[in-house]
């Protein structure tokens, strides 16, 4: 599960070739994606999971907070509660739908925050080089000296539990890898001939970064960011599982998993359900990221 943070094959920047006989780069990428049925399938599943979370109030048959103590721990297939009920009699299907909202929010937003912060720091470090590069990269190295889960747990433990704090803690551990990727692709682009041409024609640094650097590195960085979603969702639910993330009685998959842990002797199948959803979601994100990566890899032949 720590794949994305631990071993990075630094990607080569895919610089679009302007040869007359080759189709435009993005057109090639989309054509490859259209033919990749696995990536399309996991994409469809993800769209399904996200829309189920968004439309939870419409789809859910019960309230996520109120249950009947008379119907505690009903098994899967009970009429009226087809996925069973939890330890206080709340409908599992309802809680899973609502849980998706917080789990996805807690898993996706840290990556986006880290993408914005780490991506910009990396561009600054890679583009300017020199002192700024040393300061940013050495600070990144020091943050790398912590096992990521440990750092997230420590930050959460100090800030206190809650959704926002868990998002901040996870964003903090995803910034260093984002900086590294963004710095390495920016320095690759920086030495290309068209950069010199842009400078010679009088473009300012800001213009060059906006038009020439960002447009050339954005694909690589976005693909890397999608590979972090899987880990982020696992860790976000993990923090809630430890009691450091979302607070009860809110529904969240990791929190549900933790409270249903007491019920594994009574309803083992019901108790495993929230984790199964975390697994499916994170697997889909991983497969989608792999699909995107191979679609965007220009070195691969058709």
């Amino acid at each position: 599960m720590s794949d994305s943070l631990s071993y990075e094959v630094v990607p080569k920047v895919a610089v679009p070739q302007a040869a007359a006989d080759t189709p435009p780069y993005w057109q090639t990428v989309f054509r490859r994606l259209r033919n990749d049925w696995l990536t399309l399938a996991v994409g469809a599943i993800l769209v399904g999971i996200v829309s189920a979370a968004i439309f939870a109030p419409v789809l859910a048959p019960y309230s996520p907070y109120s249950g009947s103590i008379l119907h505690r721990l009903a098994p899967i297939g009970t009429p009226g509660h087809w996925l069973g009920t939890d330890e206080t009699g709340r409908d599992i299907w309802t809680r899973l739908l609502y849980g998706g909202r917080l789990s996805l929010l807690a898993g996706i937003s840290p990556v986006i925050i880290a993408l914005a912060i780490g991506g910009s720091l990396g561009v600054i470090a890679g583009y300017s080089g020199g002192l700024a590069n040393s300061v940013i990269m050495r600070a990144t190295d020091t943050l790398y000296a912590f096992p990521s889960v440990l750092l997230a747990v420590a930050i959460c433990g100090i800030l206190g539990n809650g959704l926002l704090n868990s998002i901040l803690a996870l964003a903090a551990i995803f910034v260093p890898p984002m900086v590294r990727i963004s710095e390495s692709v920016t320095s690759q682009v920086r030495v290309l001939p068209f950069m010199e041409a842009a400078k010679a024609s009088g473009a300012s640094d800001l213009q060059i970064i906006r038009h020439h650097v960002i447009s050339n590195i954005v694909g690589t960085i976005l693909v890397y960011a999608t590979s972090l979603f899987s880990l982020s969702i696992i860790l976000a639910s993990g923090l809630s599982f430890l009691g450091l993330g979302v607070n009860p009685p809110d529904a969240e998959w990791g929190l549900m998993l933790n409270s249903l842990r007491q019920a594994i002797y009574v309803q083992p199948l019901v108790a495993a359900l929230p984790g199964l959803l975390i697994f499916i979601t994170s697997m889909c994100f991983n497969l989608m990221s792999d699909g995107l990566r191979s679609a965007m890899d220009t070195r691969l032949s058709e």
Partner: protein, 312 residues
Amino acid sequence: MFILRRVIQAVPILLGVSLIVFGLVHMLPGNPIEMMLPAEAPAEVIARVKADFGFDDPLPTQYLKWLVQALHGNLGTSVYTAQPIAPDLFNALGNTLPLAVLATIIGCGAGIALGLMAAFGRKRWPDKLCLTAATAGVSVPHYWFGMVLVIVFSVLLNWLPAQGKGAEGAFWSLDQLRYMILPAITLSLIPMGTIARVVRATALDVLSREFVDALLAKGLRRGRIVLHVVKNAAPPVAALLGLQIGYLLGGSILVETVFNWPGSGSFLSQAIFRHDIPVLQATILILAAIFVALNLGADIVQALLDPRLRRR
């Protein structure tokens, strides 16, 4: 020379680590006193706790005092139990260590086997199977996987104990091993998928080199080629292993919660729920120092395996 240089390079990183650990506790909103004492605590109690734990000093002084004490092996006193932290912490680490070693052996062995199988069965079913297993391995929430193992092997089959560490005794005794199997398998997932992917990529890279064709042309059996692949794939895997054991130590906080294993992870989460700041600080410092040492060790092993790296 090379080893000496790497050891010296680790010193500033360790200093940075200690600075971050200290900074985390003291710079973030909510000071340690507020976290330790209830809001309605009388002023004189607050003053006494502040004086007892040295929170009155300016931050740089506090940091230096803490660092010097830590270097002397004194990690401070728990505010919850009023006992010195070091013995309890090292006791907990002693419980995590055998688990981590067993998990590393399982994860590394299975990962290397999967990766080699995938590389030699390229484009056929072994490759597909191994890649799927590796992707599933990095996608599965390991705390949930641990629960599933408990459900299958403890609840349904009743073969293995669901949680705890078992009676006191050597950890390799049969009784202790029974308790260690499920948590160790769960933890082994953390390195397995990544190692499998890297071994596969490295092995494919080696297999595509010209010397392999030359060896085959000379009549070397395919089985002997594996030896060459292993020899070339060893350095990157060694480097990876250092990182992965560190992640395993970090991830153990979740797995130890699932299995109620009295190791460093449980120790840390206990400190968090007791708002025991000195214990939190000491545990993170020691775990991060172990992580740095592991990576240093992995670097050195990698350089010993691959002499080209020593010249850098």
